[in-house]
Amino acid sequence: MQAILLVFIPTLTIVPAAIAAAFAMRKISHAAIEGMTRQPEIAPQLFTAMLVAMALVEALVIYCLVIALMVAAKI
């Protein structure tokens, strides 16, 4: 039982978060790249804005990763 929990709880914590973040990042990069190709002269500003937005999405996955690590260390 212990071994099953050890495998499944961290996995079930991180996997849905990663999938959701992948969809969010797809949308962010799609919009940013489309903007860059339409208007190359503002590409540097768009790139920084894209990085910040990506970081905000990524932070949520990182929280899940930290929770998964904590759970894995507890069990």
Partner: protein, 233 residues
């Protein structure tokens, strides 16, 4: 990491941070040892290239505060960047990046958030800084704690996660394959300091911009009804 040095980990984090600081101080001395020239070359060119970005960031934020804000942001950026890049060295103990253990990123995030409060007290006075923490919403002090946690956890998760992957892969396949993982790890190692600095700059801009500027920014801008003007050719 070998089990033998696990109990030394807190000291390793501190020593590696100190090492990075020493390297940065030495670089600063080397780049400014010669007389600075009007047309930069070599090292001075590289240093100006790095600093220019922060100067522009600070000028957008508050033109009279450039000499205070730009060094704050630049030292955070360079410190985190060099700490992350320690993992590509091939020396046994020095190649543990101090940002891969939670105490390191937490320290950096605390420095950033306390620095923001101190800077806003310098520009707006102690009353203005305290007012930013409690006005218009008294719960804003909680959001400061949230910002600290999110900054530190983001850095820790990226660098620490990558470092853990490297350790696991090295155990399974010691030759060749870790090189690929290291090459992929260089991407977060360069982007995360940038994100950390940009977010700190955003929080700082929120904290120190005068209320007139905020009102001016919030005011509706009259857009031209015709096709928007295009810059360039």
């Amino acid at each position: 990491m070998p089990e033998a040095i696990r109990h030394l980990l807190p000291y390793i984090v501190i020593v590696n941070f100190a090492l990075v600081a020493l390297v940065l101080i030495a670089l600063a001395f080397i780049t400014t040892r010669r007389a600075l020239t009007e047309v930069p070359d070599g090292l001075q060119n590289a240093a100006e290239f790095v600093l220019e970005w922060f100067v522009r960031l600070a000028r957008d934020m508050r033109p009279d505060g450039v000499p205070v804000i730009a060094p704050f942001l630049a030292s955070l950026f360079l410190f985190i960047l060099l700490s992350n890049l320690l993992c590509i060295l091939s020396f046994p103990v020095i190649n543990i990046p101090p940002t891969a253990y939670y105490s390191g990123p937490l320290t950096l995030a605390l420095i950033a958030m306390i620095g923001i409060t101190v800077l806003s007290a310098r520009f707006k006075g102690v009353v203005g800084a305290a007012r930013h923490l409690f006005w218009p919403n008294p719960l804003q002090i909680i959001s400061q704690i949230g910002h600290t946690l999110s900054l530190s956890l983001r850095l820790f998760g990226n660098i620490g996660g990558e470092f853990m992957v490297v350790l696991l892969v090295v155990k399974a396949a010691p030759y060749g394959i870790p090189l690929i993982i290291h090459a992929l790890g260089l991407i977060p190692a360069v982007i995360q300091p940038m994100v950390f600095t940009l977010l700190t700059a955003n929080f700082l801009a929120e904290a120190i911009q005068s209320e007139e500027k905020q009102r001016h920014d919030a005011a509706p801008v009259e857009l031209p009804s015709s096709e928007p003007a295009r810059s360039g050719k």
